[in-house]
């Protein structure tokens, strides 16, 4: 039934479009959905993705940049020659599809286990860390004047947010306390350089092809801040999927990531990257605890959420490996 609205919508912006076919919901919570579909036109079909908040869900929750900002950022990345889908259309009220945007669908893989194990990606794997370093440097270098309004995050603020969230659970975790203390003692203060930060640069949000990174997705957590945050986040062990000796997403080395980053003329501060890796590990652990809270309080009473709660101990062992390594 969404195909009727999509059909009317694409007819208005896509030259020669006669309708849409194959609409399928890829993911969706209550407030945000992603749909894949094909635009039918005289020359054949073109793959497209709709990202939207359905009618009645206007405001974006807490940390989210908002769908309008996401569309702007993706288009800016695309225009700068970074691997990013072209934004085809930003929804208007007449579309009757809610708020959001339609973008080009890029073929490739986002599932980490396939990217790390399938033969199809064997050639790409050794190249990815360096490519991603270059890509993320490009994101940090996007022209400030064109960027949308986004919140700014400092290390100090992030520590305070994590502290508040952890305490709201009312469940003692000595290892998280140790990490919070460690972070506070080493808080580098405001970054000298503040840039656009993607905020969720990791497996799941990267489309990988057999030869290279094809697209960076999901700018929902984009903000202004310390550019080293993105480099630390992609090194968090939770995204290595068992390949624990390859810190960058289970496929590459920090050296390669940093070399790609510095190829563009930007500089890496490895100590700050490590600081953000610890922060990111704690952050994922606290997010896992948050899933368990939502499972308890509903409305999402799913066993997937419940089981993610039991993954927070994974971040505890990773924090100990970082902060108190055994000889």
């Amino acid at each position: 039934m969404i195909e009727a609205e999509l059909g009317r919508c694409v007819a208005a912006f896509y030259p020669g479009a006669t309708g849409v076919t194959g609409a399928a919901k890829l993911s969706g919570g209550a407030s945000q959905e992603t749909w894949s579909f094909d635009i039918v036109h005289a020359g054949g079909t073109s793959g497209a993705i709709l990202r939207r908040a359905p009618p009645g869900y206007g405001a974006s929750p807490g940390r989210a940049a908002g769908l309008d900002a996401e569309a702007t950022l993706m288009q800016l990345a695309h225009d700068a020659g970074l691997p990013s889908p072209r934004v085809m259309h930003v929804l208007v009220p007449e579309d009757e599809l809610g708020t959001g945007f339609i973008m080009q669908r890029i073929e490739g893989e986002t599932i980490a286990r396939k990217i790390l194990r399938d033969e199809e990606f064997a050639k790409a794997r050794p190249l990815l860390a360096r490519q991603l370093g270059k890509v993320v440097a490009g994101i940090h270098g996007l022209p400030a004047a064109k960027l949308p309004k986004l919140r700014e995050i400092t290390a100090t603020k992030e520590i305070a947010d994590l502290d508040r969230e952890y305490r709201s659970f009312g469940w003692p975790r000595p290892v998280f306390e140790l990490a919070l203390r460690w972070l506070r003692e080493r808080d580098p203060g405001p970054s000298q350089e503040v840039t656009l930060v993607h905020g969720d640069f990791r497996h799941g949000n990267l489309i990988i092809g057999p030869d290279r990174v094809r697209a960076v997705l999901d700018w929902e957590l984009a903000h202004f801040g310390d550019p080293m945050e993105d480099l630390g986040w992609i090194c968090v062990n939770s995204w290595r999927f068992g390949e624990i000796d390859k810190p960058v997403g289970g496929f590459g080395s920090r050296e390669d990531l940093f070399a790609g980053y510095e190829e563009t003329g930007r500089k890496v501060d490895p100590d700050r990257v490590m600081f953000w890796e610890v922060m990111g590990t704690l952050r994922w652990g606290i997010m896992c605890c948050g899933m368990m809270q939502r499972f308890r309080q509903g409305p999402d009473h799913s066993m997937e959420r419940a089981m993610i709660g039991r993954r927070s101990s994974e971040t505890e062992i990773d924090l100990l490996r970082l902060l108190a390594p055994r000889a």
């Binding site: 003692p172 975790r173 000595p174 290892v175 306390e177 140790l178 919070l180 203390r181 062990n237 290595r240 068992g242 390949e243 624990i244 066993m303 997937e304 419940a306 089981m307 039991r310 993954r311 101990s313 994974e314 505890e316 062992i317 990773d318 100990l320 490996r321 902060l323 108190a324 055994r326």
Partner: protein, 124 residues
């Protein structure tokens, strides 16, 4: 006294049935959900088997570390509070060993296949 079979035996029997008989018949998103469900049952079995010993040892360590008595939850609250205030830290004798052992015992129940856990088991 409750009769046999034990909860562990019952859960294991259900998990084995789902794994061996139902899994091959289910496709798509429900296959994913079924796998998560079987993982949950396996986790419960591990907890029923392992947690009593782990909890008892943790409580002994906490009493010694804190010089205080209380339930496991109370003692963990006290330890958390002391770490937050900086009254104990990694220089405190026994703290690092305690956190490591406690975390290893949690992983043995939660995710025994987690890469970091397997590595640290080998390093012991």
């Amino acid at each position: 006294m409750q009769d046999e079979p034990t909860p562990t035996e019952l859960i294991k029997a259900v998990a084995d049935f789902l794994r061996n008989e139902i899994t091959p018949a289910i496709k798509g998103h429900n296959a994913f959900k079924l796998r998560v469900g079987i993982n949950a049952l396996d986790l419960v079995t591990r907890q029923l088997t392992l947690a009593d010993d782990g909890d008892a040892a943790e409580q002994v360590r906490l009493k010694q570390l804190l010089g205080a008595d209380g339930s496991l939850l109370e003692l963990n609250r006290v330890l958390s509070d002391k770490i937050a205030k900086g009254e104990v830290d990694l220089q405190t004798p026994g703290l690092s060993e305690h956190l490591w052992q406690t975390t290893m015992d949690k992983l043995a129940v939660d995710q025994p296949n987690y890469g970091s856990y397997k590595r640290e088991l080998g390093n012991k």
